[in-house]
């Protein structure tokens, strides 16, 4: 019983952080141009295209980050397959049609310049690809492949959380300057998650 609980702790921790991000992102819905991250984007925040992309991106991202953990709950998959499918459809739509394309667009305006932009562009493309492959494999009835691609997809979705953990960690506990922190975290936020995802796929059977 205790062992089962301990094994579930990482999942509970991940879900809590995902919900924390969901809650902290709510502040953007005041539509004020000087809230949190938007303070650093004053050069583009008044451009209608960028601003629209930003709100569309956080809408899709919020859906994906909050719904993703539900898909890993075994009981939901076994007993309520219709619910699993319905949530899955919302999850993939929110990434493929909303969050990934707008994320790709916003990557070109990323803080930290070219190197950070490349990191975010790659992340958006991989986010789209892994989610697409998850749908492709389930349509082919390849359940195991579907699970693997979904783990990879959510690992990239979760990079929104890990970015917000890496940045304060590096800024408070290292002497790295802010620009380097922004560039480095644009890469490790999703690369590290993908490595963990591969570990979960390999050893978590």
């Amino acid at each position: 019983m205790l062992l089962r609980f301990i094994l579930k702790l990482p999942f509970v921790f991940m879900t809590s952080l995902a919900l924390l991000l969901f809650c902290t992102t709510m502040m953007y819905w005041s539509f004020k141009p000087d809230v949190s991250f938007l303070l650093t984007k004053q050069d583009v925040v008044h451009q209608p295209v960028w601003r629209t992309a930003f709100y569309v991106h956080i809408f899709g991202g919020m859906l994906a980050i909050a719904l993703g953990p539900l898909q890993f709950i075994k009981i939901l998959r076994q007993r309520y397959m219709n619910v699993h499918r319905a949530i899955g459809k919302i999850y993939v739509t929110s990434i493929l049609c909303i969050a990934a394309p707008t994320g790709l667009y916003m990557a070109f305006y990323a803080n930290g310049g070219l190197y950070a932009s490349i990191g975010f562009v790659l992340m958006s493309v991989l986010w789209f690809y892994t989610t697409w492959m998850a749908i492709y494999s389930i349509r082919k009835k390849q359940i195991e492949q579907h699970v693997h691609w979904m783990i990879r997809s959510y690992a990239i979705t979760f990079s929104a959380v890990s970015l917000r953990l890496w940045v304060p960690f590096l800024s408070l506990y290292t002497t790295m300057d802010h620009l380097h922190i922004i560039i480095i975290t644009a890469w490790i936020s999703w690369l590290f998650n993908l490595i963990v995802a591969e570990g979960v796929i390999k050893f978590g059977k």
Binding site: S36, F108, Y136, R164, P168, S171, D177, H178
Partner: protein
Amino acid sequence: MKTRSIKTGLILIAIASVFALSSFTGATPKPEPEKIKTDWKEYHEVQQYVEENICEPIRKNYVLKHGKSSLHSFSRCPSGYHSEMITATDSVKTDRFVNGEIVFYKGCESSYICDFKVCVEKGFAVVRSKGSKNYISVNEWLQRREQYAKKTIKG
């Protein structure tokens, strides 16, 4: 079926990329690039000097009331003390006096801490609070802040 799905996927990625790139180039009018000759090596040397001689002592001795970690730090913006140059980028040289501000970031929100003036070659580093005319050494500034904080608590 397989080929069709891959084709559809590739088309979607291509459309998204073309849209993103076209909006990107269209959204920002390209002004003529300024010909600034910035010596980035020297710039970083000055930045490092400010970090070691001003930010570091402040970080060690001046604890802000909001503390180190808070929910604000759960952010994509780096937290902590940061130097921002007021002197134009191309004038930031190790043999010149360079002016700037020290700000404290709590996530993406920043608060002003003090002004600074440094010259790397002369080993010169002084600071002042907003409204003060004279620059003083970092240690003196820290002592004054401490005295002020004590008075505020007593009052």
